[in-house]
Amino acid sequence: MKEELERIRREALTALAAVSSEADAEQLRLRFLGRKGELTTVVRGLRDVPADERPAVGVYLNEIKTEVEEQIDRVVSQARSQARAAQVARERIDVTVPGKRRQIGHLHPLTQTMEQIVDIFVGLGFNVATGPDVEDDYHNFTALNFPADHPARDMQDTFFIDESHILRTHTSPVQIRVMEALKAPLRVVVPGTTYRHDSDVTHSPMFHQVEGFMVDRKVTFGDLKGVLTLAMQRLFGSGTRVRFRASFFPFTEPSAEVDIGCVICKGAEPSCRICKGTGWLEVLGSGLIDPNVFEAVGYNPEEVSGFAFGMGVERIAMLKYQINDIRLYSNNDVRFLRQF
């Protein structure tokens, strides 16, 4: 019996050594290990083996079965991996062919800039407010301390709708509307569309502003400087230099223009086209809210103080992206929009 087993083992191993395909190997599995396979048949003869030898033969039989099985598995596995290797070697795609997709659209640079500005102030605890574009003279001018027949009105060329209505020339009327409706303390940021009768490379009859104001007990000019310096550094980068210059707006006093260090030449280039060699770029107007404005909305200027500021979104985006013609914004050419 043992010899018989040994013979089958040799025969199996010899046969296996000659095959390489998965199918041939499986054929051998049937021949030796299948239900009518040679080893299976031998197992049936085990009952003829004397009882005392039976365990040893049994152990030997199992060893052979395992060995043959393992060898077959090995050949199968080898064959499979060769076949897979051949397959993947065959299959090739041109990965440089572009992906198939809807091209993504782009948000207008003014939206992106406006959202960025608003987010900075929201991060500082400001709430967002909005107001109408078709505004009345009272909210746009009178309540903001622009007296009738005062040259300050010439600062803002106005589109007129009727005797008492205009297209708002700035977002500042929303200051009035908010203060009329709410009590201090207030921290409010106002994005919006504004209009002035003016059109050239840097002026558009319709443009966008972000206005902001803060009213509380004991808000100081130093606080105005602190908040706006922080905001400009978030907007233009942490190293940005910021300076405050005296100016005039009817609704603030003292008033300040805010300049940032030139984003292009950093103040180092006397021939810089952007800052005209001054090293500074005007980016926003600001000031402490004029007591007359507080009185117009029924606040007591002895009890509260505050600051207000406003910036042109077109200008900020022009500086951020170095856009040289304001008309690009309203043309909405997709070749322009796609760049943002």
Partner: protein
């Protein structure tokens, strides 16, 4: 406003450089917009005398001139000027000299005659517009002197932006005062004196002010025996350097003094006035008046006039009349120096479109106390340049005289508003430097009286602003507010807008921000859904194309779409989120505005990738985007109904979007007529949604629902319907069928088909129905039974044929 540096130097000791002064002014509120060096080149152009003039042998129009710039040496120059004559003093540029226009003079041979340099005209020297001939210099000009020195034109001109509150700086003296206050450099106060004749002006002239609130002061000076002629060149060029055109010696003096002291003046020819009397009064009633520019003006009752003998002789503070203006034969001058009400001048000047240097100053408020000095200064200069004698004394009507009101300044308030303490002595010295009188009042309070020229300072806050200007904004410490941490973040509306923008851009549409203005034509082509809305018209539009506010955002978006299509972009997909505007058709003066969203797809969403080039969008591509949008906003209860009545849309390819049965917008194809008119493809798909309305349907909060615990069972349902049948009816029927409503999770159209073997005029629709129970696993038997009943009810109910 242009200011000459040399001129400033007459009023303030200028030790600082121009740049340093400009920087200090800019930081303190007088922005210097440009600094221009003038006439430096003219240092090399010299005074020459023409000794002899001969005809050029080779050219009729040229002369060969012998000139000299020093006694001994003569120079030969070829000259083309018609006015060259022996004996004249003219400017001479030698070879090597560069003129202000950049031209470098070289020795040359002109038609065979050597020419050592050039004689110059005004225009060649950059001094003025005259190019008709040589600039003739005064006969007493010293040979060999530089033109720059002779004419005092080597100068720096600052262009300063004067903010509306700083009328006091609209003069050389005013800027000098400001420089002195800010830099500590000493102010000079040149003495003004007039030599007077024996006769008293008051005996000759009477002045009456009928409206003291419109004219606070009127000073007249009389000058007899003047001779009108051109001003000296140096005076002319000084005026030119600040942008004023010279006229004659008298008018030039009035302008000169206005620039120097900020006081507008007017010179009348006293002999041409109807009477030896001046009355300042309102027009009283509407009338016509011809100003000295020959224009007939329509005046209103409240316009302020200067009259004489009952006739209007000037529009006060704005423009005189031709009847009494100074002309070549004028011998007697009535010089007017007055103070008119700023708002009155502004209203009249604005209405008549007559804004001038004078009205600019009156509108901003002039120094009522300096009215007389200006008259004196001008009288003295007129005598110097035009001769004559000044009558003794001024006629000075001053009904508006009143002391400047004192202001109480609390030192504590200064610290409170600025966020820094400033010591009392510093406050006092800063305010005094600005010309204010400061006296201590009660403890911690000062009484401040601003100078008469600072009409902008009337309140404590105005004084505080002056203090911080003097301190310098840069010296105020930068702090952060002491405020409670609060803030609600972005509100829900703003968050929705952002969500919409991001979803649409991810869907392939780019955002446009077109003008909210629109043409009447586009407003007609894209009318609003609500017929009671009429356009808001702009009274003074930029152009006819932008004369109304848009009634629909599509009107504006289609314009942007068109621009892109014209740029040869075939597939264009844009959206815009912005306001529409209307006024009420029945009530005037009532305006409305609302946020709308519009989408416009021309041909298709731009695609990338092989085989996508020809892909065109259809209704369902665009509808899909809107569906995604509504899903992202979590809006439910949406239905779509055919809308054949929207004029700008294709009647068969347009739907109204309804939420809970209420319309929130329209989606569909541009009407082919409009597509033709606008030159766009017929496959232009448009959407306009009323966001203000739509967002009211956004649920405030999303709640979590348990995931289903039992499996879903799907069954298909195929029916045949009329071609016109709306598939939506099946969906609604299934949803509402009471027997199954608890067990049907959803129903969805997954296929539709028409064509053989489906009979003509019919279509086949295939739906899948999802069955699920919340509390058990449905058996096949149960579902089959349910489905059978549903199909039966549905086909019966909707008149469909089961397939």
């Amino acid at each position: 406003m242009k200011v000459s540096w040399n001129w400033l130097g007459e009023f303030v000791e200028l030790e600082w450089s121009v740049e340093r002064v400009a920087e200090r002014l800019a930081m303190s509120g007088l922005e210097v917009e440009s600094i221009e060096q003038r006439g430096r080149e003219l240092g090399a152009v010299l005074v020459a005398e023409v000794v002899q003039v001969e005809r050029h042998p080779g050219a009729d129009r040229l002369s060969v001139c012998t000139i000299r710039v020093e006694a001994e040496q003569t120079i030969r120059v070829v000259c083309g000027a018609p006015n060259v004559r022996a004996g004249l003093h003219v400017p001479y540029a030698a070879p090597g000299v560069q003129l202000p226009n950049g031209k470098r003079i070289e020795a040359a041979e002109i038609r065979g005659v050597a020419s050592a340099g050039m004689l110059c005209s005004e225009v060649e020297l950059g001094l003025g517009p005259d190019e008709s001939g040589l600039l003739i210099l005064p006969s007493d000009a010293v040979l060999g002197d530089s033109i720059a020195k002779l004419l005092d034109v080597d100068d720096v001109v600052l262009d300063i932006a004067i903010t509306p509150n700083r009328g006091d700086c609209a003069s050389v003296l005013g800027v000098a005062r400001e420089i002195s206050a800010l830099t500590g450099q000493r102010l000079r106060r040149p003495r003004v004196s007039v030599t007077e004749s024996a006769q008293h002006a008051a005996e000759i002239l009477r002045v009456k002010i009928e409206d003291p609130e419109l004219c606070g002061r009127y000073v007249a000076r009389l000058i007899h025996g003047v001779k009108i002629g051109p001003s000296p060149l140096s005076l002319q060029y000084r005026l030119r350097s600040v942008g004023i055109r010279p006229h004659n010696n008298v008018v030039d003096v009035t302008n000169f003094v206005m620039i120097e002291r900020g006081q507008p003046l007017h010179a009348f020819d006293a002999q041409r006035l109807p009477a030896a009397e001046i009355t300042v009064r309102r027009a009283g009633s509407a009338m016509k008046y011809t100003t000295l520019d020959g224009q007939e003006r329509d005046l209103e009752a409240d316009d302020l006039l200067i009259t004489s003998g009952g006739r209007a002789v000037a529009l006060a503070g704005i423009m005189g009349g031709a009847d009494s203006e100074v002309i070549d034969s004028t011998q007697q001058i009535l010089l007017e120096s007055a103070c008119f009400a700023p708002s009155r001048i502004r209203r009249t000047a604005k209405r008549l479109g007559l804004r001038s240097e004078a009205s600019f100053r009156f509108e901003r408020g002039i120094d009522i106390e300096a009215v007389a000095t200006a008259a004196d200064r001008a009288a003295a200069l007129i005598v110097r340049y035009a001769g004559g004698k000044v009558a003794a004394g001024r006629v000075d009507e001053y009904p508006g005289a009143q002391p400047v009101a004192p202001i109480a300044l609390r030192l504590a308030r200064v610290g409170e508003l600025l966020g820094m303490e400033i010591a009392k002595p510093d406050v006092v010295s800063q305010l005094k430097a600005l010309g204010m009188s400061v006296t201590p009042a009660t403890r911690g309070t000062l009484t401040v009286v601003p100078p008469s020229y600072r009409t902008d300072i009337t309140r404590e806050i105005d004084v505080i602003e002056e203090i911080v200007r003097m301190v310098g904004y840069d010296n105020v410490p930068t702090t952060m507010p002491e405020a409670a941490l609060a803030g609600e973040g972005l509100d829900v509306i703003e968050r929705c807008y952002r969500e919409i923008r991001r979803l649409l851009s991810a869907s392939g549409l780019s955002e446009a921000i077109p003008y909210t203005f629109c043409s009447p034509r586009l407003n007609r082509l894209f009318p609003p859904a609500d017929g009671a809305r009429v356009p808001v018209a702009i009274l003074n539009p930029m152009s006819g194309e932008e004369s109304e506010m848009r009634l629909s955002v599509l009107a504006a978006l289609v314009r942007a779409l068109k621009l892109n299509v014209d740029q040869a972009a075939g597939h264009v997909a844009l959206f815009t989120l912005g306001k529409v505007f209307w006024s009420d058709a029945t009530t005037t003066g009532v305006y409305g505005e609302a946020m709308h969203l519009a989408l416009a797809v021309h041909r298709g969403i731009p695609m990338a990738g092989v085989g996508t080039r020809e892909q065109q969008a259809d209704f369902f591509d665009v509808k899909g985007i809107v569906e995604s949008l509504l899903e992202s906003l979590r809006v439910s209860g949406v239905t779509w109904e055919p809308a054949a009545d929207v004029t700008s849309f294709h009647p068969g390819k347009t739907a109204r979007v309804l939420i809970n049965g209420q319309s929130v917008g329209v989606i569909g194809a541009l009407h082919p007529d409009l597509a033709d008119e606008l030159n766009l493809d017929a496959s232009t798909w448009l959407v306009e949604l009323d966001l203000e309305n739509l967002l009211t349907y956004c649920p405030p909060r999303v709640g979590f629902k348990e995931l289903p615990r039992f499996p879903v069972v799907m069954r298909d349902l195929a029916v045949m319907a009329e071609a016109q049948f709306a598939s939506d009816e099946v969906v609604r029927f299934v949803r509402e069928w009471p027997e199954t409503v608890a067990l049907i999770e959803g129903v969805q159209l997954f296929d539709q088909y028409s064509g053989a073997p489906i009979p003509e005029g019919k279509k086949s629709l295939a739906f899948s129905v999802a069955y699920r129970a919340a509390d058990r696993t449905l058996t096949d038997v149960e579902v089959n039974e349910l489905h059978g009943r549903l199909v039966h009810a549905l086909t019966m109910g909707l008149g469909l044929e089961q397939r």
